[in-house]
Symmetry: C2
């Protein structure tokens, strides 16, 4: 297993990650507090998809007292947005609605050219424009959401990034991210820019407003660095809310856009069907006879796994599980259920995406 | 001897530095070409104060063909500007007049907090405003000079700095600057921002206008890095024109504002007199009798050394040398000649400085 912000491979053991990263499990008490505040429980919490955190109790304290909090998440563009990227954003949208809080959406457009071989600055510029449409299409509140783009908003961010850098040694960067002397110096500095949105409200408004960051667990390491320096700079430590990876269609690991088999937010219904039918790893048996007899294995079936992320209806999900495991439902049938669910989700997304272009200016800080 | 952009100590051996840094001596031929183009020879060239360069012949080629060139120099504020800082600027002003070229004056206001213990960001902000008045008071052409401040103009610079960083490994930064893993990551990234003004005309105007940088020799190492990456990014390599350090009043090394004994651009005539009389290291003899008999040693006398930097009149300088070495002129007398010269220079500077505040806006990019 390897889990860094730039590579996830092998079978991810989340229990091990929680220990390794020194983060906390989201427990029943925290879920209950959140449910009470939001008026409902998000299925990604109930299903342990958002499963761990750091200091999120501080955020709940503030919200319970009616004090302002704000949220920060992000996206480093180098290709189309896919469903894996959308997982924390869908959750963030729900949180924004629940808390009525501001959101800073960072686009670190310098990340990919510095970290990914063969990724050009021109490609990133193109994908930045494209990805912004998907971000807006998630449905964030245009009054409460601002997109910051690292190279465009550097005048706002660079000084604070330098203040973070001043407190961060090369040793620390090596220990946190596994860099060697052969890595470029841009990588060493990069996490400092990642820290800045966590302090932006303090900087812009002069208040110590606490910040929380919903993201996949591989990103927590950036914010470990941020937490280490926050108080030295007079800012509150940011909290994180961490989710599992949406598995790739082929199975294990993180749904990576580097692999052929992914579903992007702009795929049309036919493409979605073709990809799921062709690539989604099946927990079904070799033959229909054997399947009818022994049933499918939902613990490895990617279609079922994806439904836990995207099908909100617990009863429907339970029925699918029961029928698939009993052998009543065949692999082709569970795949079709996923196809319909994904296409439903994408149809609504793509409709909002059509209207996003004229909102871009409003969303950019 | 130690010569880095952040520390100069010991007896500086310039011949050794030329070899160590792999730069070239300015020879008679280059001086003649420059004299022909400028219509006169600057005394700092004649006296070997500007004594070495990299690729400055390319700049002369361009100027001879009537092609545009531009100049870049800078200042990292953390205290008042002193005469040592002004040396390359006075020369730069002469070059701007001679070539009619544009000048980008960079203020890397992130440098000192990241490199100098106890230097706060607030101090730097204060000294930035102050130092800009001295920069303007040098007399640069307001139509052709733009001041860029790293944190203020980061939106213009950061992306290009990242492109430089992408091509620069931590190993390279260690080899060039002597960093270790205990140094902060801001130091590793810093030189990348230093590179950017060398490419700004290419970026802003889309032309490959060649750039040259007059500065003290300790700064060349930044531009060695810049030259290494320039062509990989499609920009011309910047040239440098390198000068010796104005010795400290106490003697050897670079005139550092960390030492008590320096003359700042805002010192009043009485302060100048007091500092020179008290601190300027003398090449005179112990007693008047011995001095009259054996004469003073101009090779170590700081007043004489300073006159080579600031007294343009060759005949006057030769007369001082002759009289001081013969014993006709006493230490107190040569000091008084320096006092008068420095006060003449500062009076004119301070008069321009009074009027500088209302030009600031015009000078800032």
């Amino acid at each position: 297993m390897k889990v860094t912000p730039w590579e996830v491979s092998g079978d991810v053991d989340y229990d091990k990650l929680v220990k390794q990263f020194g983060v906390k499990r989201i427990d029943a008490k925290m879920r209950a507090r959140l449910k009470k505040l939001a008026g409902e429980e998000h299925h990604m919490l109930r299903r342990d998809i958002f499963f761990s955190h750091m200091y999120f109790d501080k955020i709940l304290d503030a919200v319970e007292k009616g004090e302002p909090v704000y949220m920060y998440t992000g996206r480093a563009p180098s290709g189309p947005v896919h469903l894996g990227h959308a997982v924390p954003w869908l959750f963030a949208k729900w949180l924004q609605d629940a808390f009525g809080c501001k959101l800073i959406f960072q686009i670190p457009d310098e990340e990919k050219p510095m970290f990914k071989k063969g990724c050009s600055w021109d490609d990133v510029a193109k994908w930045t424009d494209d990805n912004i449409l998907d971000i807006i299409a998630i449905g964030f509140d245009p009054e409460k959401t601002k997109i910051v783009i690292d190279t465009k908003h550097a005048s706002l961010m660079y000084k604070t990034a330098c203040r973070v850098a001043e407190k961060t040694t090369a040793s620390t960067a090596k220990a946190l991210f596994g860099f060697t002397d052969s890595d470029n110096v841009g990588k060493y500095f990069y996490s400092c820019m990642q820290s800045v949105p966590a302090f932006l409200p303090s900087i812009l408004e002069g208040k110590r407003t606490p910040c929380f960051i919903p993201c996949a667990i591989d990103q927590d390491v950036h914010f470990r660095l941020t937490r280490d320096v926050a108080e030295k700079l007079g800012y509150p430590k940011p909290s994180t809310l961490l989710c599992r990876f949406l598995p790739g269609l082929g199975g294990a690991g993180k749904l990576s856009s580097s692999e052929g088999a992914m579903i992007t937010m702009t795929d049309d219904p036919k493409t979605v069907r073709k990809k799921i039918m062709k690539y989604a790893f099946s927990g079904g048996k070799e033959t229909v006879e054997e399947h009818r007899e022994k049933g499918g294995d939902t613990s490895v079936d990617v279609s079922y796994q994806w439904l836990t992320f995207f099908e909100k209806d617990d009863k429907k999900l339970a029925r699918v599980k029961k029928e698939y495991e009993s052998g009543k439902m065949l692999s082709g049938e569970i795949k079709q259920i996923l196809v319909d669910k994904v296409n439903e989700l994408l149809a609504a997304h793509q409709e909002r995406r059509e209207k996003a272009a004229k909102l871009v200016e409003q969303f950019i800080l």
